[in-house]
């Protein structure tokens, strides 16, 4: 279960999709829209993706996590379009036999997604003006292949 969506994210369905009678631990991460970034008030966000490549990269991230933590089950969904404050922009659900792997794999997936998957957000302020977020601390051209942030 790896996808992009323009609908509200059903994180309970995502969580149920990874549960397993052989597993004792589930970790769910939700990214939610904050009402501000630093000093700047945020009214809403707009997410845009290079959709075909983003889905490929999301699968790569999940496969890399499963190579490192082979017994995990992982589901990943990212929202696109306009999101209001408080809405869920991304959800990662991981189940594993024990909690250490579940926490580690969940953290790896969200950190790597944020570093490598071609999705961008535009922050819209209360006055309606917006700005694309292109973080200065990610240089994607060198090295050419952005790798795990873990």
């Amino acid at each position: 279960m790896i996808s992009l969506t323009r609908q509200a994210i059903d994180y309970q369905a995502l969580t149920e999709a990874v549960r397993d009678p052989q597993h004792g631990a589930v970790v769910l991460f939700l990214g939610t829209v904050r009402d501000r970034t630093g000093e700047q008030a945020t009214a809403r966000l707009e997410y845009e993706a290079y959709a075909a490549m983003a889905e490929r990269e999301m699968r790569r991230v999940v496969e890399a996590a499963q190579q490192r933590w082979p017994q995990t089950r992982i589901a990943l969904i990212h929202r696109l379009g306009t999101l209001e404050v408080g809405e869920v922009s991304v959800a990662v659900a991981v189940s594993a036999p024990h909690r250490a792997e579940a926490f580690a794999a969940c953290r790896y997936v969200i950190d790597t997604l944020k570093a490598t998957v071609p999705i961008w957000k535009k922050e819209i302020g209360p006055d309606g003006t917006g700005e694309w977020v292109h973080p200065a601390d990610i240089s994607m051209s060198d090295p050419f292949r952005p790798e795990s942030a873990v």
């Binding site: 490549m53 922009s89 292109h134 994607m140």
Partner: protein, 84 residues
């Protein structure tokens, strides 16, 4: 040899700056990803800083500057990502 016609996809701040979701480039045959970067900086010197921080994707995978481009490649400029 025939020149290489490449349509480059644009996203986010670059798409808005160019007011277009693609830009068409004519490159020499056997051009590389690095050649494409240089041509873009010459065309849009005002966006140099952002262009230099972009990655290039060829056929939906990140590509190094040395990679050769081929007719029919799907090419995209990937500004620093901010999903999540």
């Amino acid at each position: 040899m025939k020149p290489l016609l490449i349509e480059v996809r644009l996203f986010a701040a670059l798409r808005e700056a160019a007011a277009s979701s693609t830009v068409a480039l004519e490159l020499p045959a056997n051009a590389t990803v690095g050649d494409l970067r240089q041509l873009l900086v010459r065309r849009w010197p005002q966006w140099r800083t952002l262009l230099e921080r972009c990655a290039v994707a060829v056929n939906q995978a990140y590509a190094p500057d040395q990679q050769r481009l081929t007719a029919g490649d799907e090419v995209a400029l990937i500004p620093p990502v901010s999903g999540g």
